[in-house]
């Protein structure tokens, strides 16, 4: 009997192994899987031998060489942070956007521009709904982009909104995604399975830097107890050395040391090799030690085009990223990879698990940048 590459295998190899990243790639493709209350929910059993849920999942068969050659041509060479053209720092020139945004407002500015300029017709973003529950959110106007500004810290099934639509059949689509979602998008774009979702019309992927995303239910239960049941308005994480989760309630701010919430980081983040959304058009994160500025990794031609236009139109101020910051970013990215490989090794899944990476590449990652380990 042929090996199952459908929901049964997804359950056995991902869900039951606690490796689901809750990216949303498998959800609402069919009536069987959906998200509900921050959880992956299977409504019915499906016995198909091959399914998109399995094909799109970033934790099933991730072949970095195949993705690189499929999307960009040539082998996967920059093992530290994937293919890129340049790395700079930038901030949105509009202080109002910056105020709403997590750091420099670059993502909001880029998505607004893309929508305004007709670069894309719609964007799949993530918003925090009722009870801080993050969900994929479809926007068609620039005014809606700011609703989604700011980080969520909690794993969001953003791609479910891409799967669900509704689409009218000809929109060009932009997506803002975290690395597991960017990996899923790469797998979607390369999948040979018949497409019923508008994958071929994805015209822009803005990736975010990510080291982990919390599991909604237990994390929120913990926070609710810590803030004594007072309704939560907003949550922020402050950078080192403070390292605090700041929970804003009506008129109060509750500080929770970051170490206390680490137990809500799901095991799947520990086996993720990507910190910088390597298969996006542009990847955006913070700049260590510089509040209000984003690091921007420009990766593809269309990413470069949009970024240049944003600068030209005065929407972004762009500066060179200091060499130390670049080095730090590279080291951090490699560190995540190294930790993931070690975790896979410990789980006994380095040879048999989802990751398809040459032994030589594995060795290079494990040996590279050991200084950053500290």
């Amino acid at each position: 009997m042929a090996e199952n590459r459908g929901l049964q295998a997804l359950e056995a190899n991902v869900i039951q192994k606690d490796l689901c990243a809750f990216c949303g790639a498998c959800l609402s493709l069919c009536p069987y899987l959906r998200s509900w209350g921050g959880r992956w929910v299977k409504l019915h059993d499906c016995d198909l031998a091959e399914g998109r849920c399995y094909a799109y999942c970033p934790r099933t068969e991730l072949d970095l060489d195949a993705i690189h050659s499929g999307l960009l041509g040539g082998p996967y060479e920059d093992l530290a942070m994937g293919p890129f053209r340049r790395v700079v720092m930038a901030q949105c020139t509009d202080p109002q956007v910056r105020q709403r945004a997590q750091t420099g407002g670059v993502v909001s500015a880029l998505m607004s521009l893309a929508l305004d300029a007709g670069w894309i017709d719609a964007a799949v973003l993530t918003r925090r709904g009722e009870d801080q529950l993050p969900e994929g959110y479809l926007v068609r106007k620039r005014e809606e982009v700011l609703i989604c500004a700011g980080s969520s810290y909690v794993a969001a099934p953003t791609l479910e909104a891409l799967n669900r639509g509704p689409w009218n059949g000809d929109e060009r689509i932009g997506v803002v995604a975290i690395p597991c979602q960017v990996q899923a998008l790469a797998k979607m774009r390369l999948s040979a399975l018949e497409r019923k979702t508008p994958i071929d019309r994805i015209a822009l992927i803005v990736g975010l830097f990510c080291t982990w995303a919390l599991t909604y239910r237990p994390f929120m239960e913990f926070v609710r107890i810590r803030v004594q049941g007072v309704p939560i308005q907003k949550m922020d994480i402050t950078p080192p050395p403070e390292r605090l989760l700041k929970v804003h309630t009506h008129g109060d701010v509750w500080n929770i040391p970051l170490d206390e919430i680490r137990s809500f980081i799901p095991p799947t983040c520990g086996v993720c090799l990507d910190m910088t959304s390597e298969w996006a058009d542009l990847s955006v994160g913070t700049v260590e030690g510089m509040e209000g500025w984003n690091t921007v990794v420009v990766r593809t031609e269309r990413g470069e085009e949009l970024f240049e236009r944003a600068e030209k139109e005065g929407l972004l101020e762009i500066r060179q990223l200091p060499e130390a910051n670049f080095q730090h970013l590279r080291d951090a990215s490699l560190l995540k990879k190294r930790r993931a490989l070690k975790a896979l090794q410990e789980r006994g899944e380095l040879a048999t698990g989802y990751l398809k990476l040459s032994q030589e590449a594995v060795q290079r990652i494990l040996e590279d940048g050991t200084e950053a380990e500290s």
Partner: protein
């Protein structure tokens, strides 16, 4: 006019066993008949309800068997003749009253008909209700034929009236539900005036006196039984084997003895009066042989009582060899049939008999499998319960705390099967899902966090769920109660109940408001239409999250068969063959593989689903669940 009301003494008519029982009651001049439906007993009251008005008999469907017995007993207390009929489970419900009524005694003839269901063909349990006759010191009659069913019923009233205690008549499925010729008797024209003698309270006290009196009545009953023509012996003077049997088993024994040509070697004692045992009659015949075989359904009732009788009369009867359930010669569960008896007699007499070629059964099965469509135990097309369980399944999956459903007795019991997506995890007695939910609903204090859903039907709600709901509200049990109101007692044949606005005799009746009743308890109450699947799912989910205590959701949609008979299809439903994606990823036959309404069929040739026009009742629920919007519903 119904045959059971036919005023034609001496005429032979074809009657179902249950109709024969009803006719017997008519011939006895019964005035009050009450029951709760339960197969295989339902047609007794059903057929009486049809003729009640013409014959001047009051017939009602009561909320449960205990109330039904109380209603019939009241008629008896007022000097009229009363009858109640029930299935074996029903007697358990009525037993509390019955086992006081035996002591208090009755006036007008009161007959308690119990239709047992050996092999549980339409029951949740297999039970031999004859034990209650012994337990309650009550006369017990067991008809074997349709004629006996009628005649015994009539006699049971006379016996009851003479002795002043209720008389039990025990039927089984094969007597109740088969048909045979019955010679009619007269329908009495006399009119009794009901009156309760207030100078003589009818109470079971003082027990020392009433119990003594009951035993005296039973002794008198035994005298009557000694001469009953319902007890007969057939066979040679000195048979090699004496078979003691009763009920429909007698027919199987006769067939087996005949087929094996053992008429000269086997004697058959057929008892129609099985408690108390007619001692003199038995003594006469037990002397005939040293080997005795018992053939009866379900428990070794005769077997054990006759054995005890033989022990008491050992001096006279001598040593016997007993063959039956205890010896392993007869199966100790399930229905009897001629084959079973034949096999046993073949073994005992070491004779060979091949009624049909040995491969016959195998061939027949093969042929049947070729031509019979594959079908699972399931809900009818358009059944609202399917939509309800679909919503329950989705809501529990969304909830994700491993919640489960406690069920009980009704069509919705099929929630245990794939037709109900296997959502129901327990079912026992009427209303016991709600009772169990009361218990589970108290376990949080011990660290139990699974959400609890109890389901009960509308008829079951009135029957047995109300006390459990009162308990839940009082003791703050934490669960969600779904009342699956399909506005009918569907499983037993669409009998009306307090929610339907009609009585058994077809008169208009006030509707007992389920929501109003639950609100009066103080429960949080909502109502939904299960055909609005998404809304129902979200309502169930929301109520599962909602605080503590009793929450009631009335899921209301009329039984598809009741509605279909009255007004035809709700919607014309079809599958757009272009849009249907069949087994493709994104559907994988959701409608025919998972939802499984029999109105939808999978066409392997086209790889698409289609609607079976003959079966579809047009509920339109499948249109809501189809992921490709390929199922189109248009107002019929």
């Amino acid at each position: 006019m119904s045959l059971i009301a036919k005023d034609a003494p001496g005429q032979q008519v074809l009657l179902m066993g249950n109709e024969a029982i009803a006719r017997g009651a008519v011939e006895a001049g019964v005035k009050v008949c009450a029951a709760y439906p339960g197969n295989p007993s339902s047609e007794i009251i059903g057929s009486l309800a049809q003729v009640g008005e013409d014959l001047g008999i009051y017939v009602e469907w009561s909320v449960n068997e205990k109330v039904a017995l109380e209603i019939s007993a009241a008629a008896s207390f007022a000097g009229l003749r009363g009858l109640t009929a029930m299935k074996q489970n029903g007697l358990n419900v009525a037993s509390d009253f019955l086992l006081n009524l035996n002591l208090s005694g009755t006036k007008g003839g009161l007959v308690v008909v119990v239709c047992d269901d050996p092999s549980a063909l339409s029951s949740s349990n297999e039970e031999d209700s004859r034990a209650y006759a012994k337990l309650g010191d009550l006369p017990l009659l067991e008809p074997s034929t349709f004629q006996e069913a009628k005649d015994m019923t009539k006699w049971a009233f006379e016996l009851s009236e003479e002795l002043g205690i209720p008389c039990m008549l025990r039927s089984v499925t094969r007597v109740s539900h088969a048909r045979g010729n019955v010679k009619l008797g007269e329908i009495p024209k006399d009119v009794r005036e009901p009156h309760f003698d207030t100078t003589h309270p009818i109470i079971p006290l003082p027990v020392a006196w009433t119990h003594r009196s009951l035993h005296d009545k039973l002794a008198k009953c035994r005298e009557r039984f000694e001469t009953s023509s319902f007890n007969i012996y057939q066979g040679p003077e000195k048979p090699e084997l004496l078979v003691v049997t009763c009920g429909s088993s007698w027919l199987y024994v006769r067939e087996a003895v005949h087929n094996l040509g053992l008429e000269d070697r086997v004697g058959v004692v057929k008892l129609g009066t099985t408690w108390p045992l007619p001692g003199d009659f038995l003594r006469r015949h037990l002397k005939r042989a040293a080997r005795i075989l018992f053939v009866e359904e379900v428990d070794p009732f005769l077997e054990e009582n006759v054995k005890a009788f033989c022990a008491e009369n050992g001096d006279e009867l001598g040593m016997k060899t007993f063959l039956g359930k205890a010896s392993g010669d007869m199966p100790d569960i399930g229905e009897m049939n001629p084959d079973i008896v034949t096999e046993t007699l073949k073994r005992i007499f070491r004779v060979s008999y091949e009624p049909r070629p040995s491969e016959y059964a195998q061939n027949a099965t093969q042929i049947a499998l070729q031509h019979a469509p594959m079908r699972q135990l399931g809900f009818c097309a358009g059944c609202p319960h399917r939509a309800t369980y679909w919503a329950v399944k989705n809501a529990l999956a969304m909830d994700g705390r491993d919640g489960f459903v406690l069920g009980d007795i009704g069509c919705y019991t099929l929630g245990i099967a794939p037709a109900g997506f296997s959502q129901v995890k327990t079912f026992h007695a009427m209303g016991s899902g709600t009772g169990l939910a009361n218990g589970f609903g108290q376990l949080e204090r011990f660290g139990f966090h699974q959400p609890i859903i109890a389901v009960c039907g509308d008829s079951t709600f009135y029957h047995a769920a109300v006390p459990a709901l009162i308990n839940a509200q009082y003791n703050r049990a934490d669960f969600l109660m779904l009342i699956l109101d399909n506005s009918a007692t569907s499983m037993t044949g669409f009998q009306p109940h307090p929610g339907t606005g009609r009585t058994a005799m077809g008169q208009e009746a006030p509707v007992v408001d389920i929501e109003g009743l639950c609100r009066a308890l103080g429960a949080h109450v909502e109502a939904v239409d299960p055909f609005q699947v998404t809304e129902t799912t979200h309502t169930i989910y929301r109520l599962l999250q909602k605080g503590k205590g009793l929450r009631v959701l009335v899921v209301r949609r009329e039984c598809a068969l009741v509605r279909g008979k009255r007004e035809g299809k709700l919607f014309q439903v079809r599958v757009d063959q272009q849009r249907c994606i069949g087994i493709d990823c994104g559907c994988n036959r959701l409608c025919t593989r998972v939802f499984k309404c029999p109105g939808l069929v999978w066409d392997p040739e086209t790889g698409k689903a289609r609607v079976d026009e003959a079966i579809c009742t047009g509920c339109g629920v499948c249109a809501e669940i189809c992921p490709s919007s390929a199922i189109i519903k248009e107002v019929a």
